[in-house]
Amino acid sequence: MITHLPTNTVVELELADGTKLENLRTNGNNFVSDTPIEDSVFEGNLSTVKITTPEGVTEYKDLKLVQNRQFGAGYMFILAEKTPAEKEKEELMQLLADIAELTLEVASDG
């Protein structure tokens, strides 16, 4: 979980591809936007996230989108750091996908 975020503070996020999400407010571990932000904005785009607060800029690695939904008049999303187990599972899944692809290639060549 992203910790030490000041509460009720305006912050800016810069995602891995340089996309900037501005004028966000913090509430607990939520970021609150006045306008909806599509899930697709975050997909494959959280390997590096820079969070700018009044205190400075902090860079986070390997985040995940926990939730992104509307509550009342605000749109709230939560980012969290992936756990070591989640990273290991992702690497394993990628390895399996690579093996499957290789197997298909070998089969088609044969």
């Binding site: 979980m1 009720n8 607990g28 939730q67 969290a80």
Partner: protein, 269 residues
Amino acid sequence: MWKMDEAIKQSKKYTDSKSPYTLLDYFINSGEIEIAQIAGIKNSMFRGKNLGTSYTSEQQSQVASGKFLDLWVGDYWEVNGTRYYISAFNYYLDTGDLNLTTNHITLITGGSMYTHRMNPTNTTEGGYIGSEMYEEGLDQAKSTIHDAFPGSVITHRRWLSNATSDGAASGAGWFDSDVELMNEHMVYGSNAVANSVGQPDAHRCNVGIEKSQLPLFRLRHDLIGIRTLWWLRDIVSASLFAYVSTDGVASRSNAPSAVGVRPVFSISA
């Protein structure tokens, strides 16, 4: 300096001169202790007196002043057939991202007001804030409570869960709040069946500012198990919320279950 024998002497003017509550109220009213110390006394003794059928202007003044004279844990009002117990004094004082500075007393109902499901489907997704219970299930309770204590129910900031991951609370924030379900800490004094380990901050998301047992339940354990089911707002799994079971067991049930609503709220002047 104020003396206890003077308090006893003064208290003899009253018909209930032997009451320790009267003596303590005299001590409180003597000015010998700071206002901020009074809640400590008030939260330490159970009385259980019927305060009538309405929250009087005198009682409102006592709460607003922070002296709470003639009000004790376990005292109750019976309004339109619903019993409202005083469960704590200044429980929320100095909490919230927007600081609550108003003297207040916290009430719970004697029993379940009605039954309602937490969610129409078997999920805890969205946490307590995302539940049907939060969005509309408490409306009937809010209406009844605001009618019983018109203009006196306070709105303050509570820390409430609004996301779950892998069967545990994973998100929380500050929300304007008046009438809510209780959490396990308020009832049992600790985490019981809520999932407190599934996510790095699951415990914090469920507990928030309501992190200690209400004095009413500390002093009257039997008011927890009331031979009926009633919901708590803690996330137990991807499909289960916590509740108190009919037999008094700290338990949990699927979100679509029709279980009792026994809310908590606070009043001032």
